[in-house]
Amino acid sequence: MTTATQPREALEKVDLWLRMYRQMVAIRQFEAQVNELYTRALMPGLAHLYIGEEAVAVGVCEALERTDYITSTHRGHGHCLAKGASPDKMFAELLGKKAGYCKGKGGSMHIADPATGNLGANAIVCGSAGIATGAAFSAQRLRNGRVAVCFFGEGALGQGVLYEVMNLAQLFKLPVIYICENNLYTEYTHYSETTAGDILARATAFGLEAASVDGQDVRAVHGTAQRLVGRARRGEGPAFLLCNTYRYHGHHVGDIKREYYRSKQEEQTWKTERDPITNLGKWLIEQKLADASGLEWMQTELESEMKKAVDFAVTAPYPSVDEVDQDVYA
């Protein structure tokens, strides 16, 4: 697919671009299955879809090592998958099955996996800011060279603990990167109604390295994340990365009638003009790094993988009732 006329950088990174494309498609298809499971009443609880924001999780996690740490949010499926979680165990957890990542005890909002450095998704808004900062603290003290990434939505900017830990991170020069995913809506309220002043200034006030990036452009996210992860790993301190993105679906699957807080036109514009998967695909084809049929084949292949993972989860057994009081204490 590649030719000698392409820029050297694109050639060197073609594997990375294709991997990121695949990862974003995988997340979107995973979430499409979640939507399906939820609307068919096969999935209990709540489902907060990450569709539209895939470039953030993928761009950031591709800049990390497997042993690096992440913390995630209630809208966390994308982060967990991007950090290396396997869809079958994810679906099993979402359905409350024993084979799930947390033996069915955590569910959609609490996927955790030590094998991929995932300290856990958190259902308290900003609930994991302390945990991520602490993981960076131990990485520094134990000198294991790891970094910690804290994903959170712009709604978490309203929580005081974020500013407490950013202050601590800068005082201790911790290898932590705070990734603010601004999808414009704090649940059902536009972020401008809840966020005074300038977002980046909140981080620079503490002396953190701060950057803002188009969260729909996975190459831009990855490039900036790589720079910030690199400096954190070198002991140059914490950083804050604002990713401007968009949530295609409602706050959760049941949030269908959304016109009172945002227009269909707005949604349409983001989907048609700024879709991270479509745009990366176009670029890959333009650069002659991929062709349309190849990308389509990838999509079909992932679709069948996701269906298999769903089948695994649907047929997997529930935990036995006598497990209810296990794992309360270590």
Partner: protein, 331 residues
């Protein structure tokens, strides 16, 4: 056991010795909190630790209880054993999300995959003329939360052994120290020993009435027992030492033996730990009881500043003595 020790330490010295021994034994143990380093806390409990272990392991933090407690949760999950110092127990309110929604639940929510081996040390206790925001004993709040362990030492010996056990525990442990007991002296062996969490201790053997007492109330119960002895009532004083895990068996056995029980705690009586302890006894020793279990805790008021007002808010030797007399039909 205490009798074997040939030296005495104060409660504060015992805490410091436990921390120092554990920090020498295990490099991953560190201390963080407000004014813990050079100042050694306002109560001077940690004096000398900075000099021995340095700033990397004895860390002064900003006044950000939620922030540094949350940091400790993450550090504990990833290989450290942090000990967090919350200067006044009243300030645990600021750490509640980190302790209740994070520390307590991480192990369970992750299906047992992540662990949070951290200790939160904090204080409790009234009668220090510190008024409503520096005098509460709020341990009952944490006892209510599955996933946390709660320790209330009452002697220097227990303080050292229990704190060492708490630091070695794989779970988040909240360790409450009564501010008024820091100067209390008692025998403490210089050896490396632990007191297991979940084992009660009979502080005084008696046959007529059981006084179950926690933390500061153990000394009150022992004082009341001396007064009761003078009028021929033999009181047994049982200290559960940890609120969770709870040694129900020892409490029930003592109540069965004496057939009467008072449960004493410095936390609020309403919905407080005395309710749980009384329920354990009332259920477990029902057929052996000659009287209903009596509960005594702090009055249901914010702790007042004015000394004569503050003094009536918590049980005293005299009020315990009177209640015991009544329960034994000797009023």
């Amino acid at each position: 056991m205490p009798e074997a020790a040939d030296r005495e330490l104060t409660f504060a010295q015992a805490i410091r010795e436990a921390l120092a021994e554990e920090m020498r034994r295990d490099d991953t143990v560190c201390i963080m909190g407000e004014d813990v380093a050079e100042a050694g806390t306002p109560f001077k409990v940690l004096s000398g630790l900075l000099e021995e272990f340095g700033k990397d392991r004895v860390l002064d933090t900003p006044i950000s209880e939620a922030g540094f407690t949350g940091l400790a949760v993450g550090a504990a999950m990833t290989g450290m054993r942090p000990v967090v110092d919350i200067m006044f127990g009243d300030f645990i309110t600021l750490t509640m999300d980190q302790m209740v929604n994070q520390a307590a639940k991480v192990h369970y929510m992750s299906g047992g995959k992540w662990r949070v081996p951290m200790v939160m040390r904090t204080t409790m206790g009234a009668t220090r003329r510190s008024a409503a925001q520096h005098s509460q004993s709020l341990h009952a709040w944490f006892c209510h939360v599955p996933g946390l362990k709660v320790v209330l030492p009452s002697t220097p010996y227990d303080a050292k052994g229990l704190l060492k056990a708490a630091i070695r525990d794989e779970n988040p442990v909240v360790f409450f120290e009564d501010k008024m007991m820091y100067k209390l002296k008692g025998p403490v062996p210089a050896d490396d020993y632990t007191v297991p969490l979940g084992v009660a201790d009979v502080k005084r053997v008696g046959g007529d009435i059981t006084l179950v007492a926690t933390s500061s109330m153990v000394q009150v119960a022992l004082g009341a027992a001396t007064l009761l002895e003078e009028i021929g009532i033999s009181a047994e004083v049982v200290d559960p030492r940890t609120m969770w895990p709870l040694d129900e068996k020892t409490l029930i056995e003592s109540a069965k033996k004496t057939s009467r029980a008072i449960v004493l705690d410095e936390g609020y009586e309403r919905y407080g730990v005395t309710a749980e302890l009384a329920s354990v006894i009332a259920t477990g020793a029902f057929y052996d009881m000659d009287a209903p279990v009596k509960r005594m805790g702090a009055m249901h008021v914010p702790i007042p500043f004015s000394p004569p007002l503050e003094d009536v808010t918590v049980p005293t030797e005299q009020t315990v003595f009177e209640s015991a007399c009544k329960l034994c039909g000797r009023s």
